[in-house]
Symmetry: C2
Subunit: 320 residues, 2 copies
Amino acid sequence: MIDYSERIAAIEQYLSKLDFPTEPKNLYDPIQYFLAIGGKRIRPLFTILSAELFNVSLNEALAGAAALELFHNFTLIHDDIMDKAPIRRGFPTVHEKWNPDIAILSGDVLMIHAFHELSVYPPNTFKKLSSMLNQTAIEVCIGQRMDMDFERIPSVNESDYIEMIRLKTSVLLGCACAFGGIMGGGNDTSINALYHFGEQLGIAFQIQDDILDAFGDAEKVGKQVGGDILFDKKTILYTTFQSMASESNKAEFFRLTNTSEQEKISGIKNLYKDTGVLEYCTKTQRRYHNNAMDFIAKVECPQSNYNLINLAEYIMNRSY
Amino acid sequence: MIDYSERIAAIEQYLSKLDFPTEPKNLYDPIQYFLAIGGKRIRPLFTILSAELFNVSLNEALAGAAALELFHNFTLIHDDIMDKAPIRRGFPTVHEKWNPDIAILSGDVLMIHAFHELSVYPPNTFKKLSSMLNQTAIEVCIGQRMDMDFERIPSVNESDYIEMIRLKTSVLLGCACAFGGIMGGGNDTSINALYHFGEQLGIAFQIQDDILDAFGDAEKVGKQVGGDILFDKKTILYTTFQSMASESNKAEFFRLTNTSEQEKISGIKNLYKDTGVLEYCTKTQRRYHNNAMDFIAKVECPQSNYNLINLAEYIMNRSY
């Protein structure tokens, strides 16, 4: 594993020095708070590594990288209100620590600041980056809406589920990678390939997240395994089970939903294994991972993509 | 009064033909609904008239004009959630007709679409328009936060109040006018003068709104006069009274707050007249109006500003 700590430290420093106004406190304190409670800064790191393919310096890439991190944090603040989530990254969410009205408005202004970060780039680059972020931002909202709508319908098919995660989370990783290509003046084929590399990797990553929530190593996750099963979340495992399982498997699933926490989790995990659901989902995940690798190979750039592939492998190989 | 109906019809047609996705319905139906319930389209009209100063055609100006109308509608959808307002323009607000979660996300995506409208302009113009809207959007959020914070403090001084209305509403009118100058390739002095024309006019307009709520003609307003007094809203009249009134006037004001609706409204209106508050506020309003006229005179452009001044006079002379 390459050491990315210097680049991440540069992102952290850049974020901590953003010159947000200090007033009104009820607008900007929540933003400073939320940015300070962390996050893995995966998206800006992908932007920086993509930019490096075209010899773009860390300093030049930071504003665009930060734009994505700010945008991502805006989505979290608003999603947390809609999901009524009390905790994020181990800390109270903004609407919990302040109130929903404050979380709405601080989220709004944070999104505007995300776009504002791009203004350091010259007009042609600015327009390309803005258009890319704009299109992505619209898709992220559509994905969040689909996710919320899915909660209220009995079952979701696999392609709708994949489309939802593609829009809600993966396109932003695609945008992060494309940003590097745009900054570096890459040709359209390369920018497009970088975009799809990030997008397909994002889908693989999200599928893996669903799998690890049920089958990950509890010690490494640092939380109880099986939360998604316990709360009947419509994951890729659930979705696949609904389409693959026999009537008797479904009856057994239904019986398990009304048992103890422990029995429900281990019973449904066994069902997912015995019916081939786990294997199917693992294959699906690998397919998207392979797609990503096919796309990265198409990027025409002066520098080796070793660091970028290494980061992709690292986030895909975590067992937590 | 010039007839602006053709231009307004063009705005309406442009807005009705925006190619929003049709799905997800819970994301885009609220937007279509909200845009269809109307509004006076004042901001886009100012953009179009400002653009005409520089021979920019209606067709060329429409995307920028629409961006401002979309942005304005986004702020209304989110403000209505925060203000718990049930009705807007005589129709149920989005969070009432659907729910607050839907209103948050539809507002979010509407704001992104506002910025997206600007993408029809070439890179240099695009960057100037985006930066202007971006800066304005940040200020509008700050103004909305100040307004909400003011509700929770006992009194607000005049300059803080003016700064709040400048940010919450007037800068967007400034932005609307500056947009015309930017589209037309006006020089910095002219763009700046157009911005301040709109901004100062916006302040005058907002002060007039406060005055008319108490002293307007009930028939022309089409609603009960005195609503702001009844609900103890911190208007320019209230703010001025708090700083100008003697202790005995304040005691009388306090006594009136606990009387019948009718007595409260007419008693406080009399207090505002007798203590010179109404006269002072009317003068303040005229001062900002005059500032606006000074700024418009500084714009260097090939066409007469007659239409623009006419519109400004029209909106300032309404007695409702």
